[in-house]
C-alpha cells in the first residue's frame, strides 16, 4: 500500500512541482496518472521510489515511512519495486540480457534462475531474439521494451511506469498494458504515467489527473 500525505515539492523558487498531493494506492490497485507535460507526474514517481525527497509531506509504503529509511538501506525499498523510467536508464555497455538480469543479480539469485526469468521477461515484451544485443543496437521502442522487461522480471509488489509506451506502436502498447494488467491481477500495485488517452480509456480503472502539480481530480471508472 502506498500512501502519500500532503506532499509538496519545490525544485526551485517560486514554482511548486507538486502542491499538496494526497493520494493512496491500495495493494492491487491499477492507477493511471495523467496530465500535461510538466505537471509533475515524474516527480510524483521519483518521490515514491525516493530518488528525491519532498519539500514537505509524508510517504508511507507498506506501513513504513520511507523518508526515515537511511540512504544506504534504501535499496531494500527499490527491490520491491519495478520501475520503468521515462528515459529508460539502460546500461549501454551491457547487453540486453545483462540489463534485465541485473535486477536479479543484485538479489544474488542463482544463475540458472536468472537465465530462465530474464528470457521469460524478454519474451513477454517480444525481444528475446535481441537478448545478446547492446541497447545501442536496438530501435528506440525496443530499448523501451528492455526497460519494461527489467521492471517486471522480478515480479515486484509495486510497478511504477513512466510513459512506458511513448515509443511503441498502438498494438504493442496494448500488449504491454495487458502485461501490466496481468501482473496487477496477481496482486501487484501498479502506477502508470501516460499521455495516451486510448490506453486510459481502455484500461483505466483509477485515474489521477495532475495539473501544474495539483491534483485536478481522481476518477474511478
Amino acid at each position: 500500500m502506498i500512501e502519500l500525505y500532503r506532499i509538496w515539492k519545490q525544485y526551485r523558487q517560486p514554482h511548486w512541482a507538486l502542491s499538496d498531493v494526497t493520494f493512496t494506492a491500495e495493494k492491487g490497485d491499477f492507477w493511471f496518472v495523467t496530465g500535461p507535460s510538466g505537471s509533475g507526474k515524474t516527480t510524483l514517481l521519483k518521490i515514491i521510489y525516493r530518488e528525491i525527497r519532498p519539500t514537505s509531506g509524508q510517504i508511507i509504503i507498506n506501513g513504513r515511512n520511507i523518508l526515515r529509511i537511511p540512504d544506504h538501506k534504501i535499496y531494500n525499498l527499490r527491490r520491491k519495486m519495478g520501475i520503468v523510467f521515462q528515459d529508460f536508464k539502460l546500461l549501454f555497455h551491457k547487453r540486453v540480457f545483462d540489463n534485465v538480469a541485473v535486477v536479479l543479480q543484485v538479489l544474488g539469485r542463482p544463475k540458472k534462475e536468472i537465465r530462465r526469468q530474464v528470457f521469460q521477461a524478454l519474451r513477454m515484451v517480444n525481444l528475446h531474439h535481441k537478448m545478446w544485443d547492446f541497447p545501442s543496437q536496438l530501435s528506440y521502442g525496443e530499448q523501451q521494451r528492455v526497460a519494461i522487461a527489467r521492471a517486471v522480471v522480478n515480479q515486484p509488489q509495486i510497478i511504477l511506469a513512466d510513459e512506458p509506451t511513448g515509443n511503441l506502436d498502438p498494438e504493442l502498447a496494448f500488449e504491454i498494458m495487458s502485461l501490466f494488467k496481468e501482473i496487477n491481477s496477481q496482486g501487484a500495485t501498479v502506477i502508470i504515467c501516460t499521455h495516451d488517452r486510448e490506453l486510459i480509456r481502455h484500461f483505466g480503472e483509477k485515474i489521477l489527473f495532475l495539473y501544474q502539480g495539483k491534483i485536478l481530480r481522481k476518477e474511478t471508472l
Binding site: Y49, E51, D71, I74, V102, V106, L107, G108, K111
Partner: protein
Amino acid sequence: MVQQIKYFLKETVFNLWQFRGRNIFSVTIICLSFFILGIFLSLANNLRYTAQQITQNRHAVFFLKTNISPEEKRAIEGKLSNSEIIATFNYVSPDEAAQKFKEKFPQLSRIVDSLGFNPFPPSIEVTFNQKSLSSQVQLLLKEIKEASGVEEIQYNLKWVERVNALGRLLTAIGLFLGGILILASFFIISNVIKLNVLSRKDEIDILRLVGASNFFIRVPFVLEGMTLGLIGGLISLALLFLTIQIIPLYLGSSLGALTELIQFRYLSFSQSIFLVFSGMVIGLLGSMSSVSKFLKEE
C-alpha cells in the same frame, strides 16, 4: 556467497574489457608514473651505495715518535681497540711508509733514496665507524694526542665533515625527492582512477535505482581500480627492468670502475613489492573514495 564472488569477478573482467579504450589510457598513465618513481628508486639505491662508499673512508693517521717504546705503542693500540668508534686500525712501519710514498710520488723516489736514512716516522692508520659522531672522534683524537709516544695527528676534520655532509645531503635529497615523487605518482594514479569512476556516474545511478546495495556497486569498481593499479605497477616493473638492462649498453663500456659506482641497480625485491602493492592500494582507495561520493542520495 560464491555466487556473488563469481559475479564480482566476472563483472570486473567484463568492465575492464568493455572500457578498454579508457582503461588503456589509464594504465598507461599509472604505468608511466610508477616507472618514473621506479627509475628514481633505482637511482636512490645507487646514491645510498655511493654515500656509503664515501663515508666509509673517514680515517686518521697518528704519527708516532721514531723512538717509541713497545709499551707506549701497546698502550695506544689498547686504547684504540677499546674505542667503540673505531672500525679498524693498522700499524705502518717507517719502511712501509717510505714504500708507499715512493709508489705515490715516483718522481720523488730518487730524493728519498738519496737521503741515506728513512725520514718517515712510524704511524697508525685508523678508520672510524660510519656512525661515529665527530664530537666523539674529536674526543678520542685529543686523548690519543696526549698519550706519550705520539708525535702528531693527521686528521682533516674539515674534509671529513664535508664528506659526511655529502652523505647526509645525498640521503636527504633522496628522502625528499622520494617523498615528493611517491606523493606525486600516488596523486596522479588516484586521480586517474577517479576520472574513470567519474565517467561512469550514470552506471552507478542506475544500479542504485534497480536496488543494488552500496556494497554491490562498490566492489566491482574497487576491484577494477585495484586491477588497473596492479597492471600499471607490473608493466612499469617490466619496463624498468628493460630500461636498467639497456642503460649500460647505451653508456658504453668505457667507464670502467665508475659504472660500478653509478650504475643503475635493480629495485630490491621489497621495493618491487612496494611498487606493485601500492598500485593496488591506490587503485583501491581512489575508486573507493570516488564511488562513495556518488553513493550519497540527493
